[in-house]
C-alpha cells in the first residue's frame, strides 16, 4: 500500500490537526506564561504546525519519525545482530539518556511484570554484574546475590532475571555441578552472555579479549549503552510479536516517550529579557539550553496534542498492530500522563521556566520542521 492510498494515515493526520485546533482553543483561554510573548510564540508555532504538517502526506512526520527515530532507534531489519549494530553506530549519549529514562523510570514501573518492588537502576546492575567477571558471562547465582541470599532466591527475583534476559535478548548456557561445595548436592548454574554475533561487534571497543590469557574484559567504554542497544534491537526485530517485548504496556510507553520527544523538538525557543533572573542562574547554560513555552505542558493543551501524536508514532513505528494497542483506556491515559513528567534532565525547570537541553535529536527534528516551513515560505 502506498502512503497516498493509506487511509489510516490520513485519518491520523486529520486527528492530529483537530488536536492542534483544540489545543489552540484551550491555549487562548488562559495564560500561564510569564515571559512576554511566550504564549503568542506558542500559538504561532501551533498554527504553523497546523498549516504545514498535512502537506505532502505528512512529510514532516514521515521524515522526523522515519529518518530520526526509526533509523536510530528501531532500524528496519529482522536480524537481531544487524539491528544491534545499526543502533550502536547511531547511538549518542543523549539517546542513552532518553532510553535509560524510559527503561528505569517507565518500563520498570511495570511493577507486576518486571521489577516487583525493585525498580531502579536495573541496567546498572547488569553492567556491574558483567564488569565483575573476566569471562563476559554472568551467572544466575551472582544476580540473585544482588537481591538477597543467592542460595535461596525468591521466586520473583528468578522471574525478574528471566524477564531481563528476555528483554535484552541474552542467551543462556547451563553448567551442571555434580557435587556442589556447599550442599554436596547436584546443582545447575545458568550462565548468561551475549549472542556470538553481538560479541563480535563489541570486540575491541567494548570488550577486550585477551587470547594469551583466555580472558574477556569489559573496557571502560562498556556501559549501559550496550544493554540499551540490546533492548532496542530486541524490540526492533520483535515489533510484530508483542508478547516478546512486554505487550501493549511497552508499546504505549515507547510511543509516548517518542511523542514527547517530537513535541519537545517542535516547541519554539523563546528569547528572554536580559534582566530575566534565569540568565543569571548558575544551572542555566545559554550555550546548550533554550527556554521554551511552558503552557503546552498544561493538561488541557497537552492532552489533545499528545493523544493523536502517540498514535502517529505508533503507526509509523509498528504499523497497524502497534496502532491498535493505543486505545484510550484509563490505564493508557495514566501511562501517558506519567510520561509527561518523565524526561526530567533534558526537559527541566529552571526558576519556573521550562528549559530544553538542546541535545542532537531535538535539533535534528526541529531542523526538518524549519527546513520544510522555510522551503514552503520561500516558494510562496
Amino acid at each position: 500500500m502506498t502512503e497516498n492510498q493509506d487511509r489510516t494515515w490520513k485519518e491520523l493526520l486529520q486527528e492530529f490537526i483537530k488536536g492542534i485546533d483544540k489545543a489552540i482553543e484551550e491555549l487562548e483561554k488562559r495564560d500561564v506564561e510569564n515571559i512576554p510573548g511566550a504564549k503568542q510564540a506558542l500559538l504561532k508555532r501551533l498554527n504553523n504546525m497546523k498549516l504545514h504538517f498535512p502537506n505532502n502526506d505528512g512529510e514532516i512526520f514521515i521524515r522526523a519519525i522515519n529518518d530520526k527515530i526509526q533509523n536510530a532507534f528501531f532500524p528496519d531489519t529482522q536480524d537481531f545482530i544487524e539491528a544491534f549494530e545499526k543502533i550502536l553506530k547511531s547511538r549518542t549519549h543523549e539517546q542513552d539518556f532518553i532510553i535509560n529514562e524510559l527503561l528505569n523510570g517507565f518500563v520498570t514501573s511495570k511493577a507486576k511484570a518486571i521489577a516487583l518492588g525493585t525498580q531502579g537502576p536495573v541496567i546498572d546492575r547488569m553492567v556491574e554484574a558483567f564488569t565483575k567477571r573476566n569471562d563476559f558471562h554472568i551467572v544466575d547465582h551472582q544476580f540473585f546475590a544482588m537481591f538477597g541470599d543467592p542460595n535461596k532466591p525468591r521466586s520473583y527475583i528468578k522471574k525478574q532475571l528471566e524477564e531481563l534476559v528476555n528483554m535484552f535478548g541474552l542467551i543462556s548456557k547451563e553448567l551442571v555441578v555434580e557435587k556442589d561445595k556447599r550442599t554436596s548436592e547436584r546443582k545447575i548454574y545458568t550462565f548468561y552472555t551475549f549472542p556470538d554475533g553481538i560479541l563480535k561487534i563489541l570486540e575491541e571497543k567494548y570488550i577486550i579479549i585477551d587470547e594469551d590469557l583466555g580472558h574477556a574484559y569489559v573496557s571502560e567504554e562498556f556501559d549501559r549503552t550496550v544493554f540499551i542497544c540490546m533492548f532496542l534491537a530486541n524490540i526492533t526485530i520483535n515489533r510484530d510479536n508483542l508478547e516478546r517485548i512486554g505487550g501493549s504496556y511497552t508499546v504505549n510507553g515507547i510511543c509516548a516517550i517518542f511523542a514527547l520527544v517530537l513535541l519537545l523538538s517542535f516547541m519554539p525557543k523563546l528569547s528572554v529579557d536580559e534582566k530575566n533572573p534565569i540568565l543569571r542562574d548558575p544551572t542555566f547554560n545559554e550555550q546548550n539550553m533554550s527556554v521554551i513555552p511552558k503552557s503546552w505542558m498544561m493538561k488541557q493543551v497537552l492532552e489533545p496534542l499528545f493523544e493523536p501524536l502517540i498514535k502517529v508514532v505508533a503507526y509509523r513505528l509498528g504499523g497497524g498492530l502497534w496502532y491498535s494497542k493505543i486505545i484510550d483506556s484509563e490505564i493508557n491515559k495514566k501511562i501517558h500522563a506519567q510520561i509527561r513528567f518523565l524526561l526530567k534532565d533534558v526537559n527541566k525547570w529552571v526558576l519556573g521556566q521550562l528549559v530544553r537541553v538542546e541535545v542532537p535529536i531535538f535539533i535534528s527534528i526541529a531542523n526538518i520542521f524549519t527546513e520544510i516551513t522555510v522551503g514552503t515560505d520561500s516558494q510562496e
Binding site: 488562559r30 500561564v32 510569564n34 528505569n104 523510570g105 514501573s109 511493577a111 518492588g117 525493585t118 525498580q119 531502579g120 537502576p121 546498572d124 546492575r125 553492567v127 556491574e128 564488569t131 565483575k132 546475590a145 544482588m146 537481591f147 538477597g148 541470599d149 585477551d210 594469551d212 590469557l213 580472558h215 533572573p277 542562574d281 548558575p282 544551572t283 511552558k294 503552557s295 505542558m297 498544561m298 490505564i331 495514566k334 501511562i335 500522563a337 506519567q338 509527561r340 513528567f341 526530567k344 534532565d345 527541566k348 525547570w349 529552571v350 526558576l351 519556573g352 521556566q353 521550562l354
Partner: protein
Amino acid sequence: MSSRREKWTDILPRYMTFISHMRPILRETRRIIMNLDADLLLDTEVLDKIRQEEEKRNIRKVRALSEFSAMYRSNVYEIIKDFIIKYRDKIPIIDIKDYIVDFLHESIDALSILQNITNPDERNLENTYLYRLAKFIEEIIFSRGNNIKHIYEKLLDHTPKFYECQRHLLMPHTYYREKIENPDFFMIPGISPKVYQIINNITSLYNLDPNFGNFPEKDNYEIPMIITNEVFLPYIDSIANAEEEAIENIAERIGFRILDGIFLAPQKNTVEIFLKHNFLRENKQSDGTIRLIPQFSNETLILYYLAFASLRRGFLSKELINWISMNFAFLAYMGILKWKLSDENIFYAIFKDLQTNEKVLPYLMKLICFPNYLGLDKMKIRDSVQYRKEIFNFIGSQIDNLKDFIEEIAIYCKTIR
C-alpha cells in the same frame, strides 16, 4: 561482630587490620621485583615460584587474615603476570619492570595514607585526613547548619557543580526495604524512585498552573497550592498507593503541608527560604493582596529534602544512614586513590575489587559516623555480609557527576598538610 555499642578504639583497629596487611605484601613484592633481573620477568613461572615461596613464609593464626593475605598476594601477582604477558612483545622488559615498580610504589603510598587516615586517640583531629575529607565532602553534599535555611543556602551554593551527587546521596539503591510511612513520624527515609517522580510532579504542577489561597500565617498574602490528588492522577491504581497514604510525611520532608485536607502548600519557613532564593516571587494583585508566584527549579524541593535530612540526621532511617555513610567512605577512599594512583595503575583493580572494598569500607563507614565527623547513628550500620555485598554492588554504578566529585576530592587531598 555484635551490634554492641562500639567505641572508636574498637573500630579503628579493625579498619587498620586489613590495610596493615596489604601494605607489607606490596612492599615485599616491590623489593622482590626490584631485585629481580628484568629478563627473569619474561618467564612467568619465576613469578609463580616466588609467590609460592612467599605464601609459605606467612603463616598466620587468624584464618580470615591469612586467607585475605593469600588472596591479596595472588591478585597482585596475577595482575603483574597479566601485565607482563600483555606488553612483553610491545615494550622492553626493563621498562615493564620500571612500570611495575612505579605502580607498586604508588599503591604503597596510597595505602600509607589510608593507614594514617586518623589515629587512635583522634589527636590533632583537625589535621587528620579523615576529618578533613569528611568535612570537605559534607560541606558540598550534606552541609551542616543550625537551621534548614542555613543548610539550604550552603547546599544551593554547590548545586551548579554537584547537584547530581546531592541528589544521589538521597536515593539509596536498596530503598526497597524502606517504608515511606514510618510509624515513627520523625524517621526520615531516602527518596525512592516513586517519591522522586512524585516530587518532580509537584514541581511541574506548581510551575504550570497552581491555585492560590490565603497564607495562613500572613494576612493579605496568597500562597500557591495544588490539589494533592492531582499529584497522584498519573498513577495506575495501586502503583503509588503507599505514597498517597504517606503524603503528609513526604510533604513535611519537602517543606510542605496539607491545608484544608486537600491542598498541598508550602510551610511558613519554606516560603521564606524560597522567596530568598527566587523560587517564589511577589506579585501585587489589583485587590491589593500579594500573591506569591512559584518559579521552582528541578532542585528546589530535592534540596529541601536534603537540608531536612541533614538537620535531622539523628533520625535518618537505617537504609539512608548506610547509604550516606557508604557514599562518604567511598568518596574519601576513591579520592585518596585518585590522588595517589596514576590512571593507568594496574593495581587500581584490586583497590576497587569487591573483596577489598568490603574489608575496608565498612569500618571507614563507621568511623565516618562518629560525632566529630558526620554524627550519624553508627549503630544502624549493618554488619551483615550479605547486605554489604548488596550495597557495595552499587558502588561501581557511578554517575558521571560522582566521578567529577572524586577528581575534586583528589585535588583537595593535595592541600591537606
